[in-house]
Symmetry: C2
């Protein structure tokens, strides 16, 4: 068998911001710390051991209960800034598009592969499901804050392509605080032939 396997490695990053939602809306607000258990963020619209499917899973009837691999949305400072530049606006705030964790220090953050583990100083571990895909609902979250730019609802989908961050779930509970460091443990990779 000639499948080339690329060794794993570790990269260090830092938490630049933390945010949480309520139960009504995906929009988040800034907080100083988050307590995460196996359900994700308690009382958050994206928390829980299972979730209901939507347009992202066209192979299921809408509303199907599946195991929740999207407890948390993680975003990178440099990728948000690149998205804002493409849209021609000063900034895209993590809160506007439902981010929970804003990170810095990991290049090509959205490309962290599935199965990557994120170990935080506190003992929390997040496991990466994979890259998140930009949708118009998130684009509309930006439109609310940028006057006269209704085009962003649709424009966000292409502007944020391959830079909309990742989704993850809690592998091991713990508390995180803004400023905490973490290690991304990238697994061995290969391309299925």
């Amino acid at each position: 068998m000639s499948i080339q396997r690329i060794k794993g490695r570790e990269i260090e990053g830092r938490i630049a911001g933390l945010y949480r939602a309520g139960m009504e809306d995906f929009v988040t607000e800034a907080v100083e710390m988050l307590d995460l258990d196996f359900d994700g963020i308690a009382g958050d619209v994206h928390g829980g051991p299972t979730r209901r499917t939507g347009g992202r899973e066209p192979w299921y009837k809408r509303g199907t209960e599946i195991r929740n691999e999207r407890q948390l949305s993680l975003l990178a400072i440099d990728e948000l800034q690149a998205t804002a530049e493409v849209l021609g606006i000063p900034e895209v705030k993590p809160e506007w598009i439902g981010g929970n964790v804003l990170v810095e220090g990991i290049p090509n953050f959205t490309h962290l592969p599935p199965r990557t583990l994120l170990f935080f100083e506190s003992g929390l571990t997040l496991k990466v499901d994979g890259d998140n895909h930009p949708c118009r609902a998130a684009g509309r979250g930006i439109v609310r804050h940028v006057e006269g730019r209704e085009d962003i609802a649709r424009g966000f989908v292409s502007a944020a392509k391959n830079r909309r961050g990742i989704v993850a779930w809690v592998e091991k509970p713990g508390r995180v605080t803004v400023g905490d460091g973490f290690r991304a443990q990238i697994p061995e990779q290969w391309i299925y032939p």
Copy 2:
């Protein structure tokens, strides 16, 4: 950004065998069908929403409770046969090494990437955590059935390298029966730069 992304695709396979363990041992026995819920196989040693860590996770203290991404062990007929040939024995039975699902029809089965979805005819969906790593405990499971070959406990680790199947969890509950077909939906892939 110049990260090459390889398109996803679908491959069809078939269930050639089903097996379950009790609560005492990882060794499994053949069954005709399995009912799987969000905890995996009810009453199976590897079931449950969380599990305790062991030697596979040297970054945790042994016995740490983490989310269970290893509810099921899936094996491929051709890979088991290749392992048996390297060991110089007639066969390696799935039961001996704790397999739960034996599949056929998916080439390079162990290389199905993390985040692959397996859709079964019944409505069950399994989500692939990734490749399983051969260990001496599984090797000892083979030794019990092959007289005078204590060397296999250690030899299995290299003989089964990159062909020890995958581990997965239940994304959507359902029942499976021997002979059922399934589709492997392989996601877009890339190598983190």
